[in-house]
Amino acid sequence: MSRTKDCTPRELQAFVLSKELRDGEMGAAGASAAIPMAAMMLARLTHAPDLQIAGEMFVNPRPRKLYDSMLDDRALGACEAAETFLELFGHSHRGLDFFFHNGMQVDAHGNINLHHIGGTIDAPKMRGPGAANISYAHTSRRFYICTNVHSPRTLVERVDFITSPGYLDGPESCRAAGITGGPRLCVTPLAVMDFDPETLRMRLQSVHPWSSVQEVRDKTGFDLPAADTVPETPLPDSETLALLRQRVDPEGLLRRA
């Protein structure tokens, strides 16, 4: 199987995330979910045909193409069942196998901030959009952080406000708070990070072909441990990329800048 070099960063993010999803699992993404939706649809087409996309008010949607939004009839296409916030309330308590989050700020322990940067929540320097569902972060078995940018302003040592919890301040604070789930990976346009099981801090797992360990570290607002040799993030083979482009994202949303 030949590798295809012209894969875009967003396509690679979708591919990396798709490989994480296991057959028979159930999960979903919230708003701004083009990449997660692509990951779920691609997983279904490759190794996880029984993947259940549910938990955000639609059950097993069949979108014909990708949209930036995810929670409207347009972006979902047809589905097997329509739920409401009533059922979402219950799912939020039971949790999903996996969920996806993005963030205005993401910190070294995978905590997510969508509320404010600078000041306080009552007198914010910059007020963010907030978030609808903050529960899936800890009720789900695991979640994935998927960001649109990789910059020192986005990836910070400690968020100003924890909208959705990652690993808080590490193992002790998670135990104190009763947190059992947490982020598995943080997938950015430049790299893939996972979490050190001892410290629960982010570490570099792989670097995308168009970037370097140096660039990733320069653009990360905290110290990012890595092995001596950091592997390159594997690109999708041509068949997989063709599936992504022809079946999941025929209009090329993930190929746009």
Partner: protein, 312 residues
């Protein structure tokens, strides 16, 4: 079409100002249906703004955006109990600006506190227990929430208080003259729960259908007449948000507003005047829905949005 003696809940668009003033006090709690860019009751939002009611407190299904931003830009809002406020691909400029300048109190809430509040009110109880909040700062700052102890297990958990909006405004695709509402859209979000929670409910619909048609498919009635105080026939009443499967989202209209509102947030008198002009042309000047629809592009634009919805 109306059975003799049965109360008709169909109101004329020109009666909406009076009804809004009757149902919604100054400083009242207003609930908005739909989510993000779908089924938002935009024509009713404009009626609320034209009614002159101010200092409003807003609550919504957990995803809001364009509608609340326009209301904040128009200066009608004092407080928000809104989980996510976003245009999805960009932030809401008026919301952000007003919160940063401390012109509104933007309470920090999440989906479960709002949905739990609607659910408690719909259930007729004073609170809803919640057991899915760990590690988030949202709970530390959430005025809807308190800590409590499970009366059976003694385990600590949370409670969110019942939310009883003074008025809920909703948009759906179909309804009959007695107030039976039928969503044709797949997603209905929290509309039914909000209708059950609110003291008063006004629903705009794209189409009025015969009650025999409602009866023929009664399991598809999404909000029963006993929860509805008034239904109003406002075709394209959700514009620029979508009303699927009838018409899609007018992303260009929302983007044009966002650019003007963002410039006003960052800019000076000229930019703020441009936003005021936008509000005047789109909210206050149009006397009728038809005037509004002409302003946003008329029949040809509406036909495009209908075709886009059909093609999905």
């Amino acid at each position: 079409m109306s059975a003799p003696g049965r109360q008709c809940k169909l109101v004329e668009p020109q009666d909406l100002g009076r009804l809004v003033t009757e149902f919604l006090p100054e400083g009242g709690l207003l609930a908005l249906g739909g989510l993000f860019k779908q089924n938002r009751p935009m024509a009713l939002v404009r009626e609320v703004l034209k009614s002159g009611r101010r200092l409003l407190r807003l609550v919504s299904s957990p995803g809001s955006g364009f509608d609340v931003d326009v209301m904040i830009a128009a200066g009608a809002v004092a407080e928000t109990y809104l989980a996510a406020v976003t245009l999805e691909d960009r932030m809401c400029p008026a919301f952000r600006g007003a919160a940063e300048r401390d012109e509104i109190k933007a309470h920090c809430v999440d989906a479960l506190s709002v949905v739990g509040g609607f659910l408690a009110a719909a259930n007729g109880v004073p609170f809803q227990p919640v057991d899915a909040w760990k590690g988030s700062d949202v709970i530390r700052h959430n005025p809807l929430v308190t800590e409590m102890t499970c009366p059976f297990t003694g385990r600590p958990l949370h409670a969110t208080r019942a939310i009883h909006p003074d008025l809920a405004i909703l948009h759906a695709q179909e309804g009959d003259i007695y107030g039976n509402i039928r969503h044709l859209s797949t997603m209905t979000y929290a509309d039914q729960m909000i209708a059950r929670a609110a003291k008063r409910v006004i629903v705009s619909v794209d189409r009025i259908v015969d009650t025999d048609d409602i009866v023929a498919r009664s399991r598809e009635t999404s909000i029963a007449c006993n929860y509805v105080d008034a239904v109003v026939h406002l075709p394209h009443g959700a514009h620029p948000t979508g009303s699927f499967p009838l018409y899609s989202i007018d992303e260009d209209h929302i983007a044009a507003y966002a650019t003007i509102a963002e410039a006003a947030r960052k800019g000076g008198d000229a930019e703020r005047a441009a936003l005021a002009d936008w509000l005047d042309r789109h909210v206050f000047a149009p006397e009728t829905l038809s005037d509004y629809l002409d302003m946003i592009g008329g029949g040809s634009r509406l036909a495009e949005l209908e075709r886009e919805a059909e093609a999905l």
